[in-house]
Every structure is written in C-alpha cells, then in structure tokens.
C-alpha cells in the first residue's frame, strides 16, 4: 500500500484521533494550570495544613507513574464509588500529573520575583492577596512561561497514554489501524509525525507568541 493510499484510507480516522488528542490536551492543560497555581500557592502558604496538602499532592503525583495514576483514576476509583467516563478520566489523570510538576514551576517563579517587589508592595500597604495578584503573579508569569512551554509539550505527549483506557485519541487510532492492517511503520509513523507537528509547529510557536506578547506588554525586552 502506497503512503498516499494509506493516508487516503486512514486519514479521516487519524484526523478524528488527532482532534480527540487536541481536546485531551486542552482540557488536561486547564486542569494542570489550575492545580499548579493552587498547589504552588499552597506550598508557599504559612498555613501548615495547606502546605502539607500541597506537598503530599506533589509528592504522590510526581513520584509515581502517570500510567498507574491513569489506571487508578479509571479502574480503582469506581471501587470507591467515583466513576468517571474514560474521556474525563484521561484528561484528569494527565492534568493532575503534570499539574504537580507545574506547581513547582509556579512556586519557583513566585520566589524568583525580586524581594524588593514584595517590599515595595508591602510599603504601599497592599494586602497579601492583592500584592500577589497585582504585583507578584504578573511578574512570576513571565518568569515561568518558558518552562511551562516544556511542560505543555510533556503534557501533549502524555495524553498518548489515554489510549490505554480506550479514549479514541491519535494513539488509539494508530493502534487500531496497525492491528487491522499490520502496517506498523505507516500507522505509528503517522502518529509520530502528527505529535511532532502539534508540539513543534503549533504549541511551541503559540507559547513563544504568548511570551513575546506579555513581555512587550510589560516592556522588559
């Protein structure tokens, strides 16, 4: 089967899979960012209970395998009465896992904002919450964007695991095509190329654009 013929035959299925991968990516990214910000702030909190929850969360999700976490969320949680559809279980697992890494990025970036900025905001009598929101976070955001670019690429690639709980993403479709045609090189080759295109030609430029836009708005070139 020629490559052209292969694409003609299986292109639509690969495209369907890619769309699901993109959906999984976006939803997982939202979960990851939300968790990262929450856990990152909690880890910096002076409240020991909040801090403890964040530390335990980060340790568990960073210290164990994403695949095992995915299986836990999909296969084990129902035993405790929490049943998630496979689509939701997929992006939740990926988002929760990468969110734990993201928490460290958030924490590190906040701590990297120069001490003088805290002091200046403090000297203006700003409340801690306002200080964080108005002064520290906007600056921390700029500091953490480049490492977030890396993390989001990891997250995109991590979504391939959701195929293992039968979410019909790009990886799932490739496996199906391979199973029915034995055209392994074409099936997995197509997946490889599509993941690369998503990461290299969509995600990376998008992050770079975001960074330049923010940097220009903050005029710190």
């Amino acid at each position: 089967m020629s490559l052209w013929h292969f694409l003609q035959t299986f292109g639509p299925r690969l495209l369907d899979g890619t769309l699901v991968t993109v959906e999984q990516f976006f939803l997982a990214a939202v979960v990851a960012v939300a968790i990262a910000v929450a856990a990152g702030l909690m880890k910096l909190s002076r409240n020991l209970a909040l801090k403890g929850v964040a530390v335990i969360y980060i340790e568990i999700f960073r210290g164990t395998s994403l695949l095992v976490q995915l299986y836990w969320i999909f296969f084990v949680l129902p035993l405790f009465g929490i049943t998630l559809p496979k689509f939701a279980a997929g992006f939740m697992a990926v988002g929760m896992n990468l969110g734990a890494y993201g928490a460290e990025l958030v924490r590190g970036a906040i701590q990297a904002v120069p001490r003088g900025q805290w002091e200046a905001a403090y000297a203006l009598s700003m409340s801690p919450a306002r200080r964080m929101r108005r002064i520290i976070l906007p600056q921390a955001l700029l500091i953490m964007l480049p490492p977030w670019g890396n993390l989001l690429i990891e997250l995109l690639k991590g979504t391939a695991l959701v195929a293992l709980i039968s979410v019909t993403d790009l990886m799932f479709q490739s496996k199906q095509i391979n199973a029915s045609t034995y055209l392994s090189a074409q099936s997995f080759g197509a997946a490889l190329v599509i993941y690369y295109i998503l990461a290299r030609f969509l995600l990376t430029p998008a992050m770079r654009w975001l960074e330049t836009t923010l940097r220009r708005r903050q005029e710190r070139s």
């Binding site: 203006l124 009598s125 700003m126 600056q139 903050q218």
Partner: protein, 271 residues
Amino acid sequence: MDETADYPLELTGEDVPMVRFLNVTKRYGPLTVLDKLNLDVAEGEMVSVIGPSGSGKTTVLRMLMTLETINGGVIYVDGKPLTHMPKGGRLVPADPRYLRRMRANIGMCFQHFNLFPHMTALQNCMEGPVQVLGLPKAEARARSEELLEMVGMIDKKDQHPSRLSGGQQQRVAIARALAMRPKVMLFDEVTSALDPEVIGEVTNVIRKLVAEFKLTMLMVTHQMGFARDISDRVCFFYAGRIEEQGPPDALFGNPQRERTQQFLSAVKDAG
C-alpha cells in the same frame, strides 16, 4: 513581649512626636542590631541617619516601615502604637490588619527603587491610591500626575521603568510613595545605586520636599554634604546605638565623640 504591656497605649499631651522609638531592640539570632533605641522625630522634622555599615541605621527605617519585626520596646507613629495595638487596656503585638492600617501613614523609598516593572510610571503611582486607598481612578490619576509633575517626570508618565534611568526611576518612586499621602517619608540610601551624574536630580526633589511640604522625614544616607544641607538633625549610629546626634552644623563641624570624629574623617578621606 510582656514588658511592653505597660507602655502607654497612646502618647498624649503637648509635643507628641510624629515618630517615637521607645526602648526598641532588634536582634538577629544572637546578634543585637539595635539595643534599646530611643529616638523621637518631631512633626515636619527632617532627620538624617548616618553611620558605618552594620551600625543598624537601615534597620531603623525598615522597622518603622514594619518590614522588620522588633524584639523589644514599642514604636509610636503620630501618637499611636505602630508595632503594637491596644487590647484590653494593654499593648499586645499588632496583628497584620492593624499593621496594614498603621503603615499607610508611612511611605518609603528604596535604594533600588523597586518600581513595578509591568506598570508605567503613572500606573506605579496610581496603584496604591486605587488599590489600597480605594480612590476613584480619575482622582488617583490627577493626584499622581501632580506628583509626577513635581518630581519632573510628567513627560515620562507613560514609560515603563525599564525605559527610565536610575535617577528617573527613583523620582517616580518618590512620587509613588507620596501618592499615598503619608505622614512620614523614609528614604533608604536612595542615591546609593545611582550614577554620580544623576544623584543631583534625586537630591533636588528631596530638597523641594523639605522646602515645600511639612512632611516628617527620616533619611539614611552616605552623602554627608547633602545630609548637612537639608537635615534639621543628624543621628550618628554606631554599633546599634545613637552615638551622637545634633544639628548638622554641630555634628559635622564639631563632633564631640571620638567614634564620630573617626567616622567623619574616614568619610572625608574617602571622597
């Protein structure tokens, strides 16, 4: 902590100073940086603090800004306790809310300006009045523009700090602090990080403040000539204590203590 319980809840009577340090002690671990400091600053007075590094002079300003906690004594601002609050007829260490309310009376300029890099000069000045004092934007803008005009930075009001020189940034920082209408202004080595040729533009603004506003000011500085020119009083700090203080002409012209003489002659030799 308990010894302060019997300190006055409020300073009353005539001649209540704008700032009073009453037996204020500051320790970092085993190191005593300030030992039972007593210092009054009258309303409208300009006091310069000089001394060798490590003498505790910057700590004095940082304690007054409540950037540092204190380990003994009480600081009063405008007659009311700053570091403590009255509770059940006694003084107890102030909680964050009380501190936040009280330190709105105090403005501070830093050695490294610390302007917010993601805001323009004008936005820097408006941030406190809008976010903390709750002023309407138009009013905060008018107030900020007036102050930027005063420090000679109105032309650059829409520039971000990265586009401004050190002297310009420091002038914006002064306007930003003044926009909160503080009763006390603190200047912590505000010219130390500046290139020599722009120091004048910052000291001129401070001169103008002294001349035109009846603002209480405390200034830590290494510029002896400037301190001599504009201060009402100069305090020489040595090893966590006020070694000598007095009117600038007396302190610089005829220092009484040996440490003061040594310090002043060392400074003179250096430049």
